[in-house]
Amino acid sequence: MLSFILRRLIIAIPTIILISIFVFALQKLLPGDPVLAMAGEERDPATIEYLREKYRLNDPIPIQYLTWVGNALRGDLGISLRTNQPVLELIGQKLPVTIQLAAMAMIFALAIGIPAGIVSAIRKGTIVDYVANVVALSGLSIPNFWLGIMLILLVSVKWQLLPASGYVPFDEDPLRSIQVMIMPAFVLGTALAATLMRHTRSAMLSVLTSDYVRTARAKGLSERRVILKHAFRNALTPIVTLSALLFGELIAGAVLTEQIFTVPGFGKLIVDAVFNRDYAVVQGIVLVTAVGFIAMNLLADIAYVLLNPRLRKQ
């Protein structure tokens, strides 16, 4: 098991290097000059030149990249061109926000998607199945931004039940922190719930027709036990893979959701950084996101092994 994890970690290194080179190059291809964006309305040439020197933007691009890598290896991801805050500090501020959003969205997704998938598999072809499918399709096809604005108008403006947007740190006021996050997490969670529901349904359907489920039923086990213990556990493997892959979708979805609900997380940070050509911030976020994504996939691989004893022997 340990050598398995180690092997996976070693494979991850070139992936991360490639991603960082790719993003660095991509940013340099973007039109627009970060220093011009920083110089302000009155663009004093001396200040512009000074800033170029200060942020080493006059160096050849490969040198700029290597400088960045060198600093990153020493734990220094640079400072934001816009606010002078260290990138690492910014990420430290934003990461818990997006993790909370992603976790709450995942809770929504799992709590809606999996039971709905199981139920529609069991009741295949009935009205319950159709309704679940229609709801799932709607979840997939309703755009986040529309659902978000509608929820704000209805829940916050009309009924005044939840705050319209913003963020309160969990350790400051847990209750309010959850309140502000309910709507964004719900919006982000619904699209995932739909995907999860569809996959749970098809995984359950194929498992439910298998021999061991028929045997279990023949043994006289209760239907509840058959479904949860025998069928669902075996259907879980593809669902776990999917959940890990959905992490990427969560981060991507968070970009939009955080914009709508003004949640000061990773997604908002990266969008603003791209618009301001805040290179160091974009690069830092991509690095952290890539590492996170790889870690999630590694965790999923470990989870397979735990779920499926057959893989352990190999």
């Binding site: 627009g32 110089a39 709450m104 940070l269």
Partner: protein, 505 residues
């Protein structure tokens, strides 16, 4: 399942406890400000925060008169090259450092000499600073500079604690320390900036709230929704298209003020090779034709619900410096066609205009496109993200650009740097010795009537040359909850909290 059910239940139970904290004003901003260092910052939105955080040497009235703030009185010598100021006594910075003439000298030095300073161009006329006494200071100028007081009414005149500036250097903006009515508490990037009332403020009796929190919420609909739901007390730069929604809400008041800035089309008439196009160098007839083809009133009605002010000069018709001899022209398609013919383009001509890719700008340029086509001008639109557009414009890689200017208190700030040959932001590449002379002279005079005459004369020339076709002046819109009393709108778009109170829920 149980967990999420519990969370939901807890949330709904707690929902009744919602509501703004008593006596802390919550203001929704359109963007997150950049670095909070008056010497380094460059955004409009940052100045809104400074209005509460950092006092300036002087301030303005809503009518743009200069009035005392940290300087109580001032006088010019006979040839207008020395400005002597008396400073307010008993003022301290938020860290306890006393405010005196030495502090002012240190501030001017920092604005002029800090490598990262963006204020250098605003203070170029100051060649020396003389501390005359604890509360008296003199500024020596290389030439008369009528704009200096207006600069002192903005970031160049904001006084920061010299002790803190010394310690923090270029990182001052991470924890700014000034002498304004509110002091800095914390900032979470893209989330909030929290300030609390400074008990030792010299004008503390005018400050009626305990604190103020600024929350950047870029989406205008969401910003308004937050105000309607009671999560905010006030929002700035409400979108003109949200006017109906705001006004139909019984508990919201909308305040407005015409901005000091302008919006229009800047032509490349001499900035690099691309000035070589029909509308560029020697293209004044075609530029006049385009101007004549546009119905400025209709533009304002169609795109901005009539909230903006149609315009044809660098400042709005409300400004005392507006040249009355050149009123906003009516649309005249016949004249536009005649001008086209005179320029040798009876069969029509094509113009490429770059515009920022936001909704309003796109609508504006499409409306102009439709109007111009009736006069035989075929506009092709290139939409660009703002940073890209700006860098292309500076580099001269454009023929025409739909772009605006946020405006300055002194009229010089709206024209000198754009239209003089060596102007810092003369992206148009316009050069005319007569204009240089008129605008330089206007900058050096402290006599309003004389300046008005000089600007009017310059307008006469620029109205023929039209390197910039001015179209409209924005209107600042603030939507304010009825809990808030005493807000006064200013044409600079700032939010001054003196006299503003908040009713408790």
């Amino acid at each position: 399942m149980t967990l999420s059910r519990m969370t939901l239940a807890a949330a709904l139970l707690g929902a009744t406890a919602l509501g703004a904290q008593a006596q802390t004003l919550r203001i929704g901003l359109q963007e997150d400000p950049d670095i909070l260092d008056p010497d380094q910052s460059r955004t409009f939105v940052g100045r809104i925060v400074y209005a509460s955080l950092c006092d300036k040497l002087v301030d303005i009235t809503p009518e743009l008169e200069i009035i005392p703030q940290l300087a109580t009185e001032w006088s010019w010598n006979d040839d207008n090259t020395e400005l002597t100021m008396q400073l307010r006594e008993g003022v301290t910075f938020h860290d306890g450092t006393p405010f005196d003439a030495e502090a002012v000298a240190a501030n001017i030095d920092r604005s002029q000499n800090l490598e990262e300073s963006r204020r250098k161009s605003e203070l170029t006329s100051i060649t020396g600073v003389e501390v005359l006494g604890e509360h008296e200071i003199r500024f020596d100028l290389d030439a008369p500079d009528a704009t200096l007081l207006a600069q002192f009414a903005d970031r160049a005149g904001m006084m920061i604690s010299p002790t803190a500036a010394e310690e923090a250097g270029a990182d001052f903006g991470l924890e700014p320390i000034c002498s304004g009515p509110f002091s800095f508490v914390e900032r979470v990037a893209q989330d909030r900036i929290v300030l609390e009332a400074f008990p030792e403020y010299w004008n503390a009796e005018e400050i009626l709230v305990d604190g103020v929190t600024y929350l950047p919420i870029p989406d205008t609909t969401v910003r308004l929704a937050n105000l309607q739901s009671g999560d905010l007390d006030m929002i700035e730069r409400m979108s003109a298209t949200d006017m109906a929604q705001a006004e139909s809400d019984g508990s919201i008041t909308v305040e407005r003020a015409t901005s000091l800035g302008y919006d229009g089309i800047t032509f490349n008439v001499g900035n690099g090779d691309r000035a070589d196009n029909p509308f560029g160098a020697d293209g004044e007839l075609l530029r006049q034709a385009l101007s004549a083809s546009i119905d400025r009133e209709a533009l304002s009605q169609v795109v901005f619900n009539g909230v903006t002010t149609p315009g044809n000069q660098q400042y709005s018709p409300e400004s005392p410096f507006y040249a009355e001899d050149y009123p906003v022209p009516e649309r005249d398609v016949e004249r536009a066609r005649a001008l086209l013919a005179e320029a040798g383009y009876e069969d029509g001509v094509t113009l490429e205009v770059q515009a920022p890719n936001d909704t309003d700008s796109m609508q504006v340029i499409q409306v102009i496109q439709a109007m111009a086509s009736e006069a035989g001008i075929d506009i092709s639109i290139t939409s660009k993200e703002f940073a890209t557009m700006l860098s292309d414009q500076t580099a001269g890689d454009y023929t025409a650009s739909l772009v605006g200017w946020s405006g300055r208190v002194d009229p010089d700030g709206n024209i000198h740097q754009f239209m003089t040959t060596d102007g810092g932001i003369n992206d148009s590449g316009y050069s005319n010795p007569e204009i240089d002379r008129l605008l330089d002279e206007a900058r050096q005079s402290n006599d309003t009537a004389e300046r008005q005459a000089l600007y009017a004369e310059a307008r006469g020339i620029l109205n023929e040359d039209l390197p910039i076709v001015y179209l409209w002046h924005d209107t600042w819109l603030w939507a304010i909850s009825d809990r808030v009393q005493g807000f006064v709108p200013y044409p600079d778009g700032m939010i001054r909290l003196e006299g503003v109170s908040l009713e408790e829920d």
